[in-house]
């Protein structure tokens, strides 16, 4: 065993950065805050790289014990429970680690430029570093409890960052919505943890999975593992924005764009996928749970894609796109192809992060405007942004040789060929791919091609956006500074070559030690017909090009067509435009009754009638009693004498009684 890798440094460094910036940042200069804000995540990334360099497959899995935490009962005695702060490194967490620290660091660099003019500059970096700490804790955890710390912590950081401009009502509400919906998912997660503790006596990954390993798959019906699996999936739905708990993600676009890029594209929302992959041993022995995962993932992918094609806000399109791509990842996990899901997670981090950062660059260029109908023709003004965004669009649409093609295609192939998969999943996946390509190219064309419809920004540099970013006086769209462009370029590079690790299933084999027992899916896939695989690959590429061509037709060559189509499908179109009224439905079903019940029962009934009245009545009672009692103090001599006489008679009686006894 090699010497200690000191994994604990990786989460702690961003935490130190958060503490320093949070406590001292208010009085420090922007430069100092930037240096601190970049140094610590950068150091974490460097350390992660060094760990990756030093460690070899023989050393993994590697456990690092930090500190003692919960110890209940005696070891070995039934009913005992232990959970410690321990870090765990294997190939899966190594990949996650590199993605989180790497992409995270790039986004930090970008934020220096994007948030430069914001008055709460230091607070942003403090929160961002705090998020990194929690995410790394989640990824490096060696038991469900430490993972849950990270899980909750990223929810907290997400709330803080979504509501970063908290003076704005919509931002504050969006933050609350995100946190509350997350909590609903966490409830399911917690029940799953309780079940695990009850039946397996521990939350430690190695211990739990060792006990789960010999259990036969529950093909006969639903059992304990199915319950645990479905509950874990509920938690994942909350965190990774799947049906029915996805509603917070579009609202989360109220936060600054780097936040959307880091948290709601690259890392936090992928925590659900990571958690499901980590628990693959449980899922593989509960086919029903796997089906649930796959169905939810597939439906969400399609559902979100349909909404995405009608949205006009550039960030909302990307938000729905994220939900849809996460659906793909869950689809992959649901058919047993966990490594494919992780592969897509990685490439998605690259191109979705890039898309958001580039969108931020676009928004910065047009002075805060986010409505795509007011953009257009920007490619001559912001060429670099256009180039990087174009690469990302090609990647997400699944056009070879860009990264998205390799991962998405792997998922589609596994959906078709895996023992848990079916051609239905494949078909829906292909339709979604078509829609994805369509709306992404629609975004590209609306934003960068055609004529510029934007409002002429006045001398004060205020566009029509309501965001507190990029307010320097400028008369026309301009390119972003280098500090914002360099991360874009690096991510573009990764989006181009990042998928090549998937050739020859090299990525999957890398993850074999983790998913080894679940390699059933891969071996089945490899022995199936190679021709079929190539055929399906061809179909998905053709579909992607079809989507792009359709977008070209509708938005460039015949721009009057979309309106006609929308009018033709009037009712249906309005429903889709309004996100199928899901938010309104939830409001009616859950939110309003809860608020009404809380007002009438808890406030009027319990708080006012029971609690307040108890106190008030106690006070009133005391007043009444003392009113009666003070009648004694009449100032009348004779009544005092009367009392004395009566009292002494009582005392005499008592003494006689005692004497007689």
């Amino acid at each position: 065993m090699t010497s200690s890798l000191n994994l604990w440094l990786i989460p702690i460094l961003p935490l130190a950065g958060a503490a320093i910036n949070g406590l001292l940042g208010k009085k420090s200069s922007r430069t100092a805050v930037s240096v601190i804000g970049l140094f610590f995540p950068g150091a974490a990334f460097a350390w992660a790289l060094s760990v990756a360099w030093r460690v070899s497959s023989a050393d993994l899995p590697y456990t690092e014990y930090i500190a003692h935490w919960l110890r209940y009962g005696k070891l070995g005695v039934p009913g005992a429970f232990t959970a410690d702060f321990t870090l765990y490194l294997d190939q899966l967490s190594l990949i996650m680690l590199l993605v989180v620290t790497g992409v995270g660091f790039l986004i930090h660099i970008y934020s220096v430029g994007y948030m430069w003019d914001d008055p709460s500059y230091y607070r942003f970096f403090a929160y961002l570093n705090l998020f990194m700490f929690f995410m790394l804790t989640l990824v490096l955890a060696s038991n469900y409890l430490v993972m849950f710390i990270g899980w909750e912590g990223v929810g907290l950081a997400s709330y803080l960052l979504i509501g970063f401009w908290f003076t704005k009502d919509s931002a504050a509400s969006a933050g609350k919505k995100a946190f509350i919906v997350n909590r609903i998912g966490d409830f399911g997660f917690l029940i799953a943890l309780f079940l695990i503790i009850q039946h397996f006596g521990s939350l430690d990954f190695t211990k739990v999975f060792a006990q789960v390993q010999p259990i036969a798959p529950e093909t006969a019906g639903a059992g304990l593992l199915t319950a645990i699996g479905i509950l874990l999936m509920v938690g994942a739905c909350g965190k990774s924005a799947q049906i029915p708990l996805y509603v917070w993600l579009p609202d989360a676009m109220e936060g600054p764009t780097p936040v959307s890029a880091l948290i709601h594209a690259a890392t936090m929302v992928t925590a659900g996928v990571y958690m499901v992959s980590r628990s693959h041993t449980i899922f593989e022995r509960a086919p029903m749970a796997l089906t649930v995962v796959a169905v939810i993932g597939t439906l969400t992918a399609l559902f979100a894609a349909t909404i995405g094609i009608t949205q006009t806000d550039i960030k909302k399109v990307l938000a729905y796109s994220t939900i849809s791509q996460l659906g793909y990842m869950f689809m992959a996990c649901g058919v047993g192809a966990f490594s494919a899901g992780i592969f897509h997670l990685m490439t998605h981090a690259f191109f979705k992060g890039l898309l958001f950062l580039a969108a931020g660059s676009v928004i910065h260029a047009v002075g805060g405007e986010q409505d795509m109908r007011k953009m257009g023709g920007l490619r001559s003004y912001i060429p670099w942004t256009f180039l990087t965004m174009g690469i990302a669009t090609l990647a997400i649409s699944g056009i070879p040789p860009f990264a998205g093609f390799w991962s998405k295609d792997e998922i589609l192939w596994q959906a078709y060929s895996s023992p848990h998969g079916s051609w239905v999943f494949w078909l829906i996946g292909v339709i979604t791919a078509f829609l994805t390509s369509f709306y992404m190219f629609r975004l590209l064309f609306l934003t960068f091609f055609g004529d510029y419809h934007g409002a002429q920004v006045d001398e004060h540099g205020h566009g029509h956006g309501t965001h507190a970013d990029s307010d320097h006086g400028h008369g026309e769209p301009h390119e972003s500074p280098m500090v914002m462009l360099v991360p874009l370029m690096i991510l573009a590079l990764l989006s181009t070559i990042g998928g090549l690790v998937g050739i020859g299933n090299r990525f999957q084999h890398f993850l074999d030690p983790v998913f080894g027992a679940g390699a059933v899916a891969e071996t089945a896939a490899e022995t199936a017909s190679h021709t079929t695989e190539l055929l399906l690959m061809g179909i998905s590429v053709v579909i992607a090009f079809l989507g792009a061509w359709l977008a070209y037709v509708l938005y460039l060559s015949k721009p009057y067509l979309p309106q006609k189509i929308a009018d033709g499908l009037n009712g249906f179109y309005t429903a889709v435009l309004n996100k199928y009224y899901v938010d309104e439905l939830y409001s009616k079903l859950f939110v309003k009754p809860l608020i009404d019940g809380s007002t009438s029962i808890l406030w009027q009934g319990v708080d006012r009638k029971v609690i307040d009245d108890t106190v008030n009545n106690a006070a009133d009672g005391a007043r009444e009693i003392s009113n009666e009692a003070r009648q004694m103090q009449s100032g009348n001599l004779r009544s005092y004498a009367g009392w004395i006489a009566a009292g002494s008679a009582v005392v005499i009686a008592y003494m006689i009684w005692m004497g007689v006894r």
Binding site: S634, G635, L637, R638
Partner: protein, 100 residues
Amino acid sequence: MVPLSYYLVLSGFLFACGVTGFLIKRNIITIFMSIELMLNGVNLSFVAFAAHWHSLAGQVFVFFVMVVAAAEAAVGLAIIIAVYRTRETLNVDQVNLLKL
């Protein structure tokens, strides 16, 4: 030969009369006199017991009681005079400034 109990009953009766006077009388001076009556009743009891137990300490105690009663009467009557000066009344029901 008079039984001791006769003396004690008489003493008790005098004491009870004193207390009753204290309770039902309205003139402050009469109330004061009831107090003196109480003290006298107690004195009788002391002397009776002194005779019973053949101890002169009881009679000495009566002596002290009388001294204290004298002092108390002097001061009490002075207070009554002072109160009469301000309140112009000897009716104890009207001297109730200590009422809450």
